[in-house]
């Protein structure tokens, strides 16, 4: 194949791209801005069934009691946290990040470093079925990330209008360790009999979270950096599987949802 043929083809493609480059229709810009404006006027709230709400309140009381006696050391003294580029979460200088008063982020942005997959592929690769109950609703998107050692991290996202709640799953042979620097009041809490840990954003301020995934021997097999708004609760169940739930909804809701994860 003469290189000149490909050279011409490349040039044709570049020319095509430039020919396709058009100014954005004004309607498109206005549509985006209108969506942002509409959403900013809408209060963030989550309606949950009464019975479920009572259970959440009960669990929250337990959580407060637990937290009062098990407050963890502030994690803001941890080593520098890399920043986040969703396409390439490499090490970067971390800095406090102010979020806009409007436009709450949808929990943790871990999904940006993962591959969107169909539900059946997620289940096939991880042998895990994300919750699908009246409390959770149906997950609306699924993500996986294969790490060295062929273990797979999974994530499902749920719509809690107008917000999104994320559930991440780390298989038993992985131990995610966290370096939340910007989080406030990290605390331990009981999640249906398992030790859990909160990391919380302050109002209008997101926090960066570095997730180092290590195998049982302590060897790092992957590293993710994620930005979180709202709160993130992480806990490990009997078989060693670790879950993380995050989203800009009340902590009581996150905790109640977490307690139902099997």
């Amino acid at each position: 194949m003469p290189e000149s043929d490909d050279t011409q083809l490349c040039r044709d493609l570049v020319d095509l791209g430039r020919a396709l480059d058009r100014p954005a229709p004004q309607g498109a810009v206005e549509a985006v801005l209108a969506r942002l404006a509409r959403r900013e006027r809408r209060p963030h709230r989550r309606v949950i069934p009464m019975g479920f709400g009572l259970a959440a309140a009960a669990v929250a009381v337990v959580a407060v009691l637990q937290a009062s006696s098990h407050l963890a050391a502030p994690l803001r003294d941890d080593p520098l946290i890399p920043g986040t580029d969703p396409a390439n979460p490499t090490d970067q200088e971390a800095a406090p990040i102010e979020t806009q008063p409007m436009g709450a982020p949808d929990g943790c942005s871990t999904w940006m470093a993962m591959e969107p997959v169909p539900r059946n592929r997620l289940s096939f690769e991880t042998n895990w079925t994300p919750p699908s109950t009246p409390a959770w609703g149906e997950p609306n998107s699924f993500y996986t990330r294969r790490t060295r050692g062929s273990s797979t991290i999974a994530m499902a996202r749920y719509s809690f209008q107008p917000n999104t709640v994320n559930l991440e799953r780390y298989p038993p042979n992985m131990v995610p360790t966290y370096n939340p620097r910007e989080s406030e009041s990290p605390a331990t809490v009981d999640v249906a009999g398992h030790g859990g840990r909160w990391a919380r954003a302050t109002p209008h301020r997101a926090f960066q979270l570095q997730v180092r995934i290590v195998d049982p021997g302590g060897r790092e097999v992957d590293r993710l950096t994620t930005l979180c708004g709202g709160s993130r609760l992480t806990w490990t169940v009997e078989d060693g599987t670790t879950y993380a739930i995050s989203g800009p909804v009340p902590d009581e809701t996150l905790l109640a949802l977490a307690a139902t994860v099997k």
């Binding site: 194949m1 290189e3 043929d5 490909d6 050279t7 083809l9 490349c10 040039r11 044709d12 493609l13 570049v14 020319d15 095509l16 791209g17 020919a19 396709l20 480059d21 058009r22 100014p23 954005a24 229709p25 498109a28 810009v29 549509a31 985006v32 801005l33 969506r35 942002l36 404006a37 959403r39 920043g83 986040t84 580029d85 969703p86 396409a87 390439n88 970067q92 990040i97 102010e98 979020t99 806009q100 008063p101 409007m102 436009g103 709450a104 982020p105 949808d106 942005s109 999904w111 940006m112 591959e115 969107p116 997959v117 169909p118 998107s141 997101a206 930005l227 708004g229």
Partner: protein
């Protein structure tokens, strides 16, 4: 060195104005974000089509800008904005394509994507020169990954590194896939253009 190794002016590298707009957007200036939408809408829409959004490319693009706005706090100042945005577009388009497949079944999906007039024409393909229109049609007929890598590298003129970021592939895969995709495209284009 093949030409494709040198292609990619790295549109994301032109970031000074984007930097300013991003900073103002993060401070709550939605007019500045509107300017970002104007600057990158065309590329985002093309990326959505290339990533399989089909007739819903406009919706995917709009959603991507809204998500990007939400995630601006996570954007690293000084980094190129366009590849970051396009990665969101690709993720959304892939999700949307899978949802559509689940809803309608694979056969219907493919039919909806490729039937004449069924594919969105967000960039005014209808007004292209005949040769460009044929090339666009052939490009769309390639397998997903081929279409995406050629779209990123040539239609959007991203560098290999930016393409790897946008598509979530290793850089080596971008290089090898580009070569293979060009070969496939050439095999299709030559008889088509000879008509």
């Amino acid at each position: 060195m093949p030409l494709w190794d040198r292609v990619g002016r790295g549109v994301g590298g032109v970031t000074d104005e984007d930097d300013d707009l991003v900073a103002r957007s993060r401070a709550g200036d939605t007019a500045a974000f509107g300017d970002l939408v104007r600057r990158h809408h065309s590329a985002a829409c093309r990326m959505a089509v290339l990533a399989g959004a089909g007739s819903e490319a406009e919706d995917v693009t709009q959603e991507a800008f809204v998500r990007a706005y939400d995630a601006l706090f996570a954007f690293r100042p000084g980094a190129p904005f366009r590849p970051w945005l396009l990665r969101i577009v690709v993720n959304l388009a892939r999700n949307q394509a899978r949802s559509r497949a689940r809803r309608a079944g694979l056969v219907l999906r493919v039919a909806a994507m490729w039937e004449d007039g069924g594919v969105v024409d967000p960039q005014g393909v209808a007004v292209l020169a005949e040769r460009d229109r044929r090339l666009w049609a052939v490009l769309r007929s390639l397998p997903d990954k081929d279409r995406q890598v050629l779209g990123c590298r040539f239609l959007l003129e991203l560098t290999e590194s930016e393409t790897a970021d946008v598509l979530g592939w290793p850089r080596g895969s971008v290089k090898s896939r580009t070569a293979r995709a060009l070969a496939r495209l050439r095999a299709l284009v030559e008889p088509e253009m000879a008509r």
